[in-house]
């Protein structure tokens, strides 16, 4: 009897632990990814809407504007391509420019790879498509040690959905938001970056220094015009990350 009770309770405990484990996995799976990506979806709303509108005034059809958002999914590069099309720049040069603007994602996906759970290469190749500045920062600042593929999928699906849907909507309605809302919503993505940075920065001088040094470098590049935006972000980030690593390795408190 005692044995039965014992094994029963052990079975119950294991079952309970398994359930808890499953719940925990669910908590950090697809639907939590959707939740974590909601701020991106809000932030993309005014940007994609304006892109759709600008694409229309540039002469792109609804299909063409939407196709660009579906296949490229890169805000800055898409905006620049519109002004280059208007300027009559050769398509091949627009493609090369797109590569230059997006080269910074090499750095981001290399950093993200350290944080993602190991998974089949085809799955990683699939969600790699959805890595933007915004999805990267949301994923890379998650407190969990390892991020699940399904969580990343959630973050990407809601962001991508917002980007594509609001590109079409912007083209369809052919107008932007009321001026005050357009102006205030243009802060959304920056507010999100702040909201991701601050919790890690509080009481952590290393994180504070990393952000501060990169911000200073990037401001310097902006003011001097030495580097274009895409390169400036990449070089400032890398410089800051290396400097802080060198300082903290020497044992000086960073």
């Amino acid at each position: 009897m005692i044995i039965t009770l014992h094994s029963f309770s052990r079975f119950g405990k294991e079952k309970y632990l398994r359930q808890k484990e499953r719940k925990k996995l669910r908590e950090h799976g697809f639907s939590s990814g959707l939740k974590a990506g909601a701020s991106i979806a809000i932030g993309y709303f005014p940007v994609a809407l304006t892109f759709g509108l600008l694409a229309k005034t540039t002469g792109l059809s609804l299909i063409e504007a939407t196709a660009m958002s579906i296949f490229v999914f890169a805000g800055a590069a898409q905006y620049i391509s519109l002004s280059l099309i208007t300027a009559g720049v050769l398509p091949a040069l627009i493609v090369i420019n797109t590569f230059i603007v997006n080269i910074r994602h090499f750095l981001m996906t290399a950093a993200l790879n350290e944080k993602m759970e190991p998974d089949a290469r085809w799955k990683k190749a699939l969600y790699a498509f959805g890595i933007t500045d915004e999805t990267f920062t949301v994923l890379a600042t998650q407190p969990d040690n390892k991020i699940r593929t399904s969580f990343a999928a959630g973050v990407i699906v809601i962001s991508y959905g917002s980007w594509v849907a609001f590109t079409s909507l912007g083209h369809l309605i052919g107008a932007s938001l009321p001026a005050f809302l357009q102006a205030s919503m243009s802060i959304a993505l920056y507010a999100m970056f702040v909201g991701l940075l601050v919790p890690s920065m509080k009481g952590n001088r290393k994180v504070l220094s990393l952000a501060l040094i990169a911000a200073l470098f990037n401001s310097l590049f902006f003011l001097t015009g030495w580097l274009s935006t895409g390169w400036a972000i990449m070089v400032s980030t890398l410089a800051s990350a290396i400097i802080i690593e060198l300082i903290s390795r020497k044992g000086v408190a960073a």
Partner: protein, 102 residues
């Protein structure tokens, strides 16, 4: 737009995808040197600093939009509010500013 447009989109899609996909697939299952790993772990916070500054100040022609927005976002975030509240709260503050002074 003609056929060139679709070739251009195809090209843009390929060159945007390459920097996203190569590190994630190529580095899968590979152990990088400790120093490289440490530098890569520093990247997210450095990138946030570079993404916020100085661009946040230039979201509108009126630089005060960016300044007030940045201060509000940091203030709300420091109270411990989650990201979505930081975003919505900052939009709300800037909307009020825009309606009254815009």
């Amino acid at each position: 737009m003609g056929a060139w447009f679709w070739w251009m989109i195809f090209g843009m899609a390929v060159v945007t995808y390459i920097p996203r996909a190569i590190p994630l697939t190529f580095l899968e299952g590979r152990e990088l040197p400790e120093t490289v790993q440490n530098v890569l772990r520093n990247i997210p916070y450095a990138v946030l600093g570079a993404l916020i500054f100085p661009a946040v100040f230039f979201i509108q022609e009126n630089i005060w939009f960016g300044v007030i927005g940045a201060v509000s976002a940091f203030a709300i975030a420091f109270t411990g509010a989650n990201v979505i509240l930081v975003v919505l709260g900052t939009i709300a503050i800037l909307s009020m500013y825009g309606i009254w002074f815009g």
